[in-house]
């Protein structure tokens, strides 16, 4: 059976449908779901033009790419043409990108068509898409709940079938957690899999470029195109992504028991246990394992990542581009007010925490200590991967929470990242697999984590189970 994307590409190539049809359908669907506030802009004019170009190429018998005529959405922190790149911030409200992100260029080169840009927490700081300067995105299954975040908009447009895939960025869970909240597949690839060039930076050492789709196969197909060395991003790896590999039966899977303790929602625990049963039924061996250092991962993360954020956001000063305060009398006032007005509260919180941990006198105690702990975390993963092929945890401690529920408690909000943050710090690939529903009908996902560069294999494992069960939704 062909995946959703394969079906579209095949039909477009055979002229059973047209790229224009696909784009028009996606744009129409986008117009129908505006109440979710998942999209910040549509790039209709450019999308239709590109669709016509592809249709013309097909009519002329020219070869077209592996994603010919497939519409997609970018998270609005990817530099992309057709509408401003805002990062959901006042700072970049009117920023027109002079160039496109490497991965957008690669997808377009294969014939994919960007139809719009999705909402996010401003500068990707958050886990609910409530921190967007332009307003909250609503959960695809229950509009009173959050979409998750920071790539909430992309998760929702995928769940609501606006497009067959959407791009997100994942620094500490920003793809996996909203994928879990909206019941779709989402991958945080191995650090360095896909180029970060042309994507608004959050934390350089954990930022990854990934995507959402309705099936593991489609995630793998899109990632195989996004992956690869980019001369413009020195941290990219040579292309290792082989979407044809498959996970052999009889894999050894470790379930991290600290991630199933008392603090975790009961429905989440029971859906995870059911998924484990299905893994066993499919012939894999599953063992509970302990990883005690994982309790400290969130603390490491909220030292290291704010430090990098405070640095990466220093360029937004109102001097060269972006929001500039009016009538500033001095340079200090220009900086202070431009940044004060251009950033949301969560941005400022992280800049302050980051600046603090990097200050002289505190650097060793916080930043350096966190980096040392991070090394221990990576060692702990390595030791587990000596014995297990994959690790498994829930993706988030709860299903989607209500809009506003955690808004005034940043620590509670950060706890929602507790399960996704550890693989980010270790640079490991991790996939959200929709695994079931809560008693009140909210999607719950599990996270499969593999050793570095095992991205295609964990997607294969997730996909196999989906096919055995005929899907989970």
């Amino acid at each position: 059976m062909m995946s959703q994307i394969e079906t579209i590409v095949t039909e477009v190539k055979k002229a059973q449908t047209t790229a224009r049809n696909q784009v028009e359908r996606a744009l129409a669907k986008a117009e129908q779901i505006t109440e979710y506030h998942a999209l910040l802009s549509l790039t209709a004019e450019r999308a239709l033009q590109r669709a016509d170009d592809i249709d013309l190429a097909i009519a002329r018998g020219e070869s077209v790419g592996k994603l010919a005529g497939v519409p997609f959405v970018v998270k609005d922190n990817y530099l992309a043409f057709g509408a401003p790149t805002t990062a959901a911030s006042k700072m970049l409200e009117n920023f027109d990108a002079p160039l496109q992100a490497t991965v957008v260029e690669k997808l377009e080169a294969e014939g994919a068509i960007c139809i719009g840009k999705s909402n996010l927490d401003a500068f990707a700081h958050g886990g609910s898409t409530e921190n967007s300067y332009f307003g909250v995105t609503h959960n695809a299954i229950d509009e009173s709940r959050v979409a998750g975040g920071s790539s909430g908009g992309s998760a929702v447009v995928t769940a609501l079938d606006v497009v067959p895939f959407a791009l997100g960025t994942d620094t500490g869970g920003s793809i996996r957690q909203p994928a879990s909240f909206n019941g779709v597949y989402g991958i945080k690839p191995t650090y360095g899999t896909a180029s970060r060039y042309g994507v608004v930076a959050m934390a350089s050492s954990t930022d990854t470029m990934g995507c959402f789709a309705k099936s593991a196969e489609d995630v793998a197909l899109v990632m195989s195109i996004m992956a690869g060395r980019d001369e413009r991003d020195m941290t990219t790896l040579p292309d290792f992504f082989d979407s044809t590999v498959s996970a052999q039966p009889g894999r050894r899977i470790g379930v991290i028991k600290e991630m199933l303790d008392d603090g975790v929602d009961r429905d989440v625990v029971s859906v995870t246990r059911q998924y484990i049963d299905r893994l066993v039924a499919a012939g894999h061996s599953v063992t509970e394992v302990s990883m005690s250092i994982i309790k400290y991962a969130l603390a490491m993360y909220y030292v290291i990542v704010p430090a990098e954020i405070s640095s990466n956001l220093a360029r937004y000063d109102g001097v060269r581009y972006g929001h500039r305060a009016e009538n500033a009398k001095t340079l200090a006032e220009l900086y202070g007010r431009s940044r004060s007005e251009g950033f949301v509260t969560e941005n400022k919180r992280r800049i302050m925490v980051g600046s603090y941990v990097l200050s002289s006198g505190f650097f060793d105690a916080y930043y350096l200590q966190a980096q040392k702990a991070r090394t221990l975390l990576i060692q702990a993963y390595n030791e587990l991967f000596d014995q297990y092929d994959f690790l498994l945890t829930p993706t988030a401690p709860t299903p989607a929470f209500a809009i506003g529920e955690n808004a005034n408690d940043p620590v509670k909000m950060y706890l929602a990242d507790a399960m996704t943050v550890p693989p980010s710090l270790a640079g490991l690939p991790a996939v959200n697999v929709p695994a079931g529903m809560s008693s009140n009908g909210l999607p719950i996902g599990v996270q499969i984590i593999g050793p570095a560069q095992s991205d295609a294999v964990i997607l294969s494992l997730a996909g196999q189970l989906d096919q055995v069960d005929g899907g989970t939704r």
């Binding site: 060039y197 930076a201 020195m234 405070s310 001097v319 581009y321 002289s360």
Partner: protein, 507 residues
Amino acid sequence: MSVYDDYEMTVGIECHVQLATKTKLFSPADNDARDAEPNSKTHPIDFGLPGMLPVLNKEAVRLAVRAGKALNAPIARVSRFDRKHYFYPDLPKGYQTSQMYQPIILAGYVDAPLDDGSTKRVRIEHAHMEEDAGKLTHHDGYSLVDLNRAGTPLIEIVSEPDIHSAAEAKAYVSELHKLMTYAGVTHGDLYHGNMRFDVNISVAKKGAAELGKRAEVKNLNSFRSVEKAAEYEFKRQVDLLERGEQVVQETRGWNDAKQITTSQRSKEDAQDYRYMPDADIPPIVLSDEEIADMQGNFPIMPGEFRDYFSVFGLDNSVVEYVLRDYRLAYLLLSTWGDGPWPRPQADLIRDGFEIEKYSLEEHKENMKRIFNWFASTPFEELDMEKVGNGFVGPRRLTRLAHLVHENKISSNSAREIFLSLFEESTIGKMPEEIAKERNLLQVSDESAVAAIVDEVMNDPASAASIADIKAGKDKAIGYLVGQVMKKSKGQANPSLAQRLIRERLRG
């Protein structure tokens, strides 16, 4: 004995060297922004646009590795980049990418020659790579930002506080400039800020166990200003201490017009740069083989030139003069024939210069003439392009010197022809031809000069002088020689004329 004699200065110098790469340290933008339109030599990376990432320029790494060799310093097998944060409109990313924790060039030293012929060794603490900032110009009510220079690759060379006089400071920076230009690391154009110096200076009573509080004089761009700023600061700080006041630890600027330093900001305003590792740039990891490869084909360093040139027994100032530009040093070494050029041997040099019966001793004497022609010409008047590109050339220089050696031209004429070698009109012309064209050839044909001498001696107007000489007033011979020169229209060889006159007087 002055009160200043009781004190000693201690100086450490930080030097920023712009690397002569084609493109910037982290972007593909043109690195040569001289006289370019503001912001015309920029890439979105230099502009600090969202989503831009640095791509390390391999050529900059190669030049830094070569600079390390010139500084007698080992290269770190692993070095890293860090971010130095501060807000200023000339700093597009809000941080400068630098190397705080693991610099590429480790400890080394520079041996700087002093005027008295001795050598001052200044240890190098380390040197690191970093990017330059842009430039601001301030206008009435507004300021403009030019990012052409933003991202230019630099190395910052940090010396130990080994310098104890203004003369040593000047000798150090001047030698550093030579090392960096000879190694091809930088264009070394001081006027365009290719090398800039920050001088840290403190004073203390001689023999004191502890150093005094230091002031840093920033952004000096000439050897002379380094020397003068050190002199000025020394006096200023000693005066303060003598008045019972304290030296404030602060940053000072140099006012070149007034030749004074002025306070810019004190330590209380010191910024917290919040250094952190730059996760966008993987560490530079170099194997011994890679380092050796990068340091291959290393050019001749100033110290080696001094060794080669020591055979001439010239004054230090003459040798140092020709070392001021590596192109001149190369021209002279290739003219002499040493180092990478064939060693001076009589038959080889005859072949090279096409001078008959030319001996090594003669060549050595001629070399001294050539050195002195250069050294007696104001440096600024010499076109180093023409020195470097073969326009002047070893053959023309040697043959010109040999004309003097053979008494075919006067030393004054030789100077004139020497300067003419830089003119377009003499392209392809040998000195003999130029001398002929300009009527500068001396008549050294003895019979021709003898005829004129006889004419002068027989002239009744000469009688008085002849009588004077015979009476022991030897100086009177000058009149007779002068008459010979006059009658020969300046072309007679004056020493030959004098000898013939004396012969006649004796006879």
